[in-house]
Amino acid sequence: MSKDIRSIIEALIFVSSEPLSSAKIKEVLTDVSPEEVDQALKELQEIYENNNRGLCLLQSAGGYLLATRPEFDPWIRRLLQIERKSRLSQAALETLAIIAYHQPITSSEIAAIRGVDSTGTIKTLLEKKLIKIVGRRASPGRPLVYRTTEKFLLYFGLNSLEDLPSEEEIARLLEEKDIDQN
């Protein structure tokens, strides 16, 4: 039976248009205990890790999804006749990093950290749905407040905001960089 559950879950992940959370899987598999679902998910992940085939099972934005392995990118682009995907601008990345770490945050707070006005970049990020407006700050002028979205996690392959490097990791990276430069 457990083998079947894995197969059903695999099929569900395959047809899902967004990362499929284990909660949703449990909602669908009403006659299977939550523990069994978790176990089956674990086994499925192991199968994908070990079989080294064309697809891999990713855990991103709080759910599971199927994707091709990165090393096959050149052939896929040849098939789809797509140039390299366009990357975010440096300004967009910086702004995202600031929002990710300081959310919820206002436009002027972002500008204060970057040292430059960021309205244009915020607009781009909103349009790309990497950030969203979540309300207003209760301060003079009642400025709009921004947060990162699920799509942000998905875009960078993060499972949750906790996957972002910690202060310590950043500090370590900074030190390494310093050493490199000397």
Binding site: F14, V15, S17, E18, C56, L58, L65, L66, A67, T68, R69, P70, E71, D73, I76, L80, R84, K85, R87, L88, Q90, A91, L93, E94, L96, A97, I98, A100, Y101, S108, A111, A112, I113, R114, G115, V116, D117, L126, K129, K132, I133, V134, G135, G141, T149, E150, Y155, F156, G157, L158, L164, P165, E167, I170, L173, L174, K177, Q181, N182
Partner: protein, 249 residues
Amino acid sequence: MEAGDLQESYQVRLEIFEGPLDLLLFLIKKRKLNIHDIPIAVITRDYLEYLARKQNINLNREAEFLLMAAFLIFLKSQMLLPREQLQLNEESDPRRILVDQLLEYQKMKITSSLLRKKEEEQQRRWLRPFVPVPLSLEEEEILEVNLFDLAECFYLLMKQKEDENFKVLKGREVSLEKKMKEILDLLEKQPVLDFLEYLKQQESLEEALVAFFCLLEMVRARLVIAFQESLFQTIKVWLRRERIAEGLG
């Protein structure tokens, strides 16, 4: 560093620096300076030299680069205060704000380079580009929405509705002319304007930038005299009396 040392770095056009902090970090690294103990005079000279040589810079960003220049000059004057008054402990070090800002910005730069790596890896993974067609469900497009979508949707609907009569109400936009008039009015009332004090009173960064830009314009147009001496802690602005009549008209 002599002028020549900056030559190679000058090959990099100003646009590639995201802003004044980016440029400052670059200059600090180039000279291998300790970020916690920046020799302000040195870095200010490098910074100004860099700005002076630039060409074709984005005007939107130029104001921000210039604002930083003003701040550096201000810091330099602070650093020249007599030693005993300064007591260079962490708290009273006038460079503290700048250092904090640089450190935070540096952190964000590191993070954004990590994000860049993740982006690269993720971009080489391909998801299924299509959603399987649900068998018998209605064919309505389904979507996830957030507040921006909601507001944008409403805005676009209204725009469609009221098409040519629709007036786009801009947010509180500060025009150069208005700001310039405000500054000139102030100078009419008081002999000397403490410019950094004035900048601090501005409600937004945008407004402060416009104000600073106005000052530069007025100096260029010889409407005012701006003076900054190391012993003073700010930039002082006087009206050029003889020019005001023919001035802005």
